[in-house]
Symmetry: C6
Subunit: 69 residues, 6 copies
């Protein structure tokens, strides 16, 4: 992550997914697709709660893309 | 992304795709090819609107190349 | 790892896994899944103790995600 | 890209390919091989014109190697 | 490698493998597993001596994990 | 590449391969193995001359390891 600046649209978009508890799908560089709601984000990671209510700590560098589920 | 400087030709090229709503294909390091129009870019991500009008938040580090569709 | 700041939720989450000796599963970009308890973390690596009590030094850049086992 | 310094031999080599319109093959981390002539380079990307005259914007981080075609 | 600081436990762990000539297995992002003893480390690389006494210069960024053999 | 400092053993090792025109094998993250002699190195790339005397510009970030051939 080169910049964790909350003015950036990419950070704000994840913030809105988090606030609105939108269901998202996160595609990783491993080709895993993780589904759930984003609990929080920081400069290094996103924390996703999946359908089993498990919290998954995802490295930003490993994320290919995020889309609404 | 080492530099997000809007004087750079690579940033300007994505800006022109965005302004002109050109249809593009984005090849990712996962070998996914995402097609659509670029809504915006920032130092960390591009936001692509696909043919289902879904907004896909793509990490720059995960992009191999972008070409016109 | 862009930031090793112990105020960050992602660092604190790994600290709590470590302190509580939670069993975790760590998915790597190689698609390996390593299971065990986290002994410590630093800006570059995590040290995991597996079920054979072997200590595995994992590069942060190679971690896709961490979840409870 | 750690350094975009035009004194570096790697930057100069790409500049000479560009100036002389040499046909090159670019192998990506996705295992794609893109062939064409390099139009320009900047700290983040190379722009390649392929045999269909399409301009392909390639992320430097995604390039494994470049060789003459 | 974000930090090459010999106070870090991850650097010290590799130093101890080196000093004690422990046999280690190094898993790379290519899924290669290289076995041998670590001769030295620096901010960019580790140098491993394999069972044929060949010295292999390994990029830190390519290492997924290191474990005792 | 975090540091291009010619005091580092990893830089000096590549310098000695270059000076002595040692035949080396370079394993890439793509799983390609490129063989030849190293002509030069800079902070971003190595230039390898293969058995067809072709010069291959290799991104350091794409190199998993280098060993004598």
């Amino acid at each position: 992550m080169s910049e964790f600046n909350t003015d950036l649209p990419s950070i704000r978009k994840v913030q809105s997914y988090t606030k609105d508890k939108n269901a998202v799908a996160i595609k990783l560089l491993t080709n895993d697709i993780l589904e759930g709601t984003i609990l929080w984000q920081d400069p290094n990671c996103l924390c996703l709660q999946d359908q089993n209510n498990q919290q998954i700590l995802i490295g930003r560098h490993a994320i290919a893309f995020i889309r609404p589920k």
